[in-house]
Point group: C2
Chain length 420, copies 2
């Protein structure tokens, strides 16, 4: 076994031991630990910014793309926001011990379904430094130990943030090994995590682009909470209010173009397109968004480029929107079913029956009426934070907060029952 | 692509189409379909018994082991029980559409977490013919389409049962393709299912022994609901009532030795062993159970064989029980954590504090106080039936009934909200 493999195996064993302690810790102790993590991050702002400057300089020297450097770069406000995000997680309701259901059987057995931690998580992510803090806080809130493996270009930042997290854990008498950071840039570490570390990892959470997702799908030997791309749709129904439609589409596409909840395709009813599309398109074009439409859409908005079939599958993460005019709600649902990624899809309409039909028939993690798809976010849902948006149908779907990082067990209390 | 691969791909596509119809069917329609399946199974008793006699004769001719032939063989009472089991599933509460949680955000967004079907299930099982009926009924109750692949030795029986299921679906105007049976004995069909049939399969449920579980772990490219072995423990604490302890251990081990909830290891406190073990052991030995103990247990019960380390890991599924005397509750929990499979574990004690400590600290799908581990069963939990007991920590843990075969989506209703 290589030295790295030995180190990672020891990390898995330490995480398992820490998980047993965390599972039996009380909510107050975990709250104190998370609040102390937040305070330590704020206190260590200078160290974190120093470390981050080191990462950013190395990234510039290596010629990394500007958006990547943007995602990597911290300033004092960003560190304060990170500390504040962790503090929010300290304040949310503790999920553990909740009796999710309880009933008594005719034979007198008392059965309770009780929320418990999953155990050991492994989060594999890329360059955003705040993920180190968010993932640690959410894991501990849910009573899990976690092994963090961030992008190598953010390693100095991650080490500095992790040092603050360890301070928080120790100050609340929780084991420092509850949150461990892989401190090598060696990509073999990812392969070892995906192997499950001899059964020590209960759940792998990948947060990254397509190449990471594909590697995880091919190599993972432990359960994975899938986070795939967001090919999100906004469907403007014939009975849409034109102002709401314009404002929602503009926000859903352009508020931030790089998030997975950004709308990538606009669908409009044939019956409403002439009334609704021109003003929506004008607002988008004025804001610098490229439009790629089908023939009908192009007729209504001549400044639109032509969309190919590939556009309906595209997650642009850029100021580009594909536009299609469909005969009716059936066709809109059919388009979303065929081309969508099951992430987040919205209808804009004042017609209650059409809205409810859309909400029932579109099989996505999040379906919305008369609201921006950019609300696909754990914070916006009131979860206090999120580790990502799951497009998996199993275990957790949609925003993954602390509650989604738990499982349950059945606690059965009897007084001597035997089975006939 | 082979002819089989083409057939299986078409099956996946048909299942996907059927799943869409099922997801929008109403509860009454699914109830009528399941009740009609039950009636058709009862009506077709003669055909099912004929087909089964064919399977049993072939199994005898092939020299299959007696327990396998036992599991395969049906009589009129078994068919009636199968019809009755399906009817029970028709009568349980429909899980779909349940609003699991609903809240309003400060910006007025109304967020509901609503229970919806998973989509397309694939159940891979072995020789028990009743699984064909149970899996079909539970899948349809939860609004899922299902592809069934039973053991080749039970293929004639499965075809006859499946014909009755199709009648039930069609009589309620649901698509026959909601429940499809793989009608070939070719084992390549299992490989194709494990490949996920081009994304058509949302969840694979394997029900079988170690070789199936290992094949699934190695080959599956769709999510799997794990069902591993049950190395279950009954821990007789020093403060146990001796009569309850004897009756519970006898039942937990011997009621049926072949079920995954059967106790395989008896743990006793040092402080109580001399008082409690001799009478428990005598009852077990008189009932024909072999005992394999550690040195202390052997001193107390001379007619006990010696246990090796392998015995602590063993899922005997036979009238054999390993017996270990431990210093205290800590050591009992440690033993279960090390050797158990996270399935079902029980404590027998009159001491409330000890009981609650055990229930909190043992991280298994089901933990019991003063009751037989053989209660690990969906029917005994009141689920109306089960497709197995999940030892996975993700998605569903413990008995998997209709509710566990669902997922949820978030339905968000707004009136024009955009994200700042």
């Amino acid at each position: 076994m290589s030295e790295l493999a030995q180190e990672m195996k020891a990390m898995g064993e330490a995480a398992r031991r820490a998980a047993r302690i965390l599972a039996l810790s009380d909510a107050d102790q975990r709250t104190r630990a998370i609040a102390a993590m937040s305070a330590a991050i704020a206190d260590d702002t200078a160290e974190i910014l120093d470390a981050n400057a080191h990462d950013v300089a190395a990234a510039r020297a290596a010629g990394l793309a500007a958006p990547l450097i943007d995602r990597l770069t911290l300033d004092a406000a960003a560190v304060a926001a990170m500390a504040n995000g962790v503090d929010t997680i300290a304040r949310i309701a503790d999920p553990l011990g909740e009796v999710m259901a309880r009933w008594t059987r005719p034979n007198g057995l008392d059965i309770a379904r009780v929320r418990v931690p999953i155990g050991v998580l492994a989060v594999i992510y890329e360059s955003r430094p705040n993920v180190t803090a968010d993932a640690a806080a959410l894991a501990v809130r849910a009573g899990n130990a976690v092994i963090l493996r961030g992008g190598s270009e953010a390693l100095h930042s991650a080490r500095a943030i992790h040092a603050a997290i360890e301070q928080g854990l120790v100050s609340a008498n929780l084991p420092a090994e509850a949150v461990q950071l892989v401190k090598t840039a060696d990509r073999a570490a990812v392969g070892l995590i995906l192997s499950g570390l001899d059964g020590a990892v209960d759940l792998i959470v990948p947060r990254g682009g397509r190449s990471l997702v594909e590697r995880v799908a091919a190599e993972a030997r432990a359960p994975v909470l899938g986070h795939l791309e967001g090919v999100c749709h906004t469907y403007v129904h014939a009975a849409a209010d034109p102002v709401k439609a314009r404002d929602i589409v503009l926000n859903a596409k352009l508020r931030r173009v790089s998030v997975c909840g950004a709308t990538e395709t606009l669908l409009l009813d044939e019956a409403g397109a002439a009334r609704l599309l021109p003003q929506i398109a004008e607002a988008l074009l004025n804001a610098g968004c490229e439009l790629r439409g089908d023939a009908t859409a192009q007729t209504l908005v001549p400044r639109m480029n032509v969309a190919s079939d590939a556009d309906w599958y595209a997650e642009y993460l850029a100021p580009i929107l594909s536009v299609r005019v469909v005969p009716d709600l059936d066709a809109a649902v059919e388009h979303i079913t065929r081309y969508g990624s099951g992430h987040t899809d919205a209808i804009v309409t004042e017609d209650d029956a059409a809205a409810e039909a859309f909400l029932a028939r579109v099989d996505s993690a999040i379906v919305l009426r008369n609201a921006s798809t950019q609300f696909a976010d754990g914070g916006e849902f009131g979860f206090g934070g999120e580790i990502g948006i799951s497009t998996s149908k199993l275990h957790a779907r949609g925003p993954v907060g602390a509650e989604q990082l738990t499982t349950y067990k059945y606690v059965v209390r009897g007084d001597g029952q035997i089975r006939p």
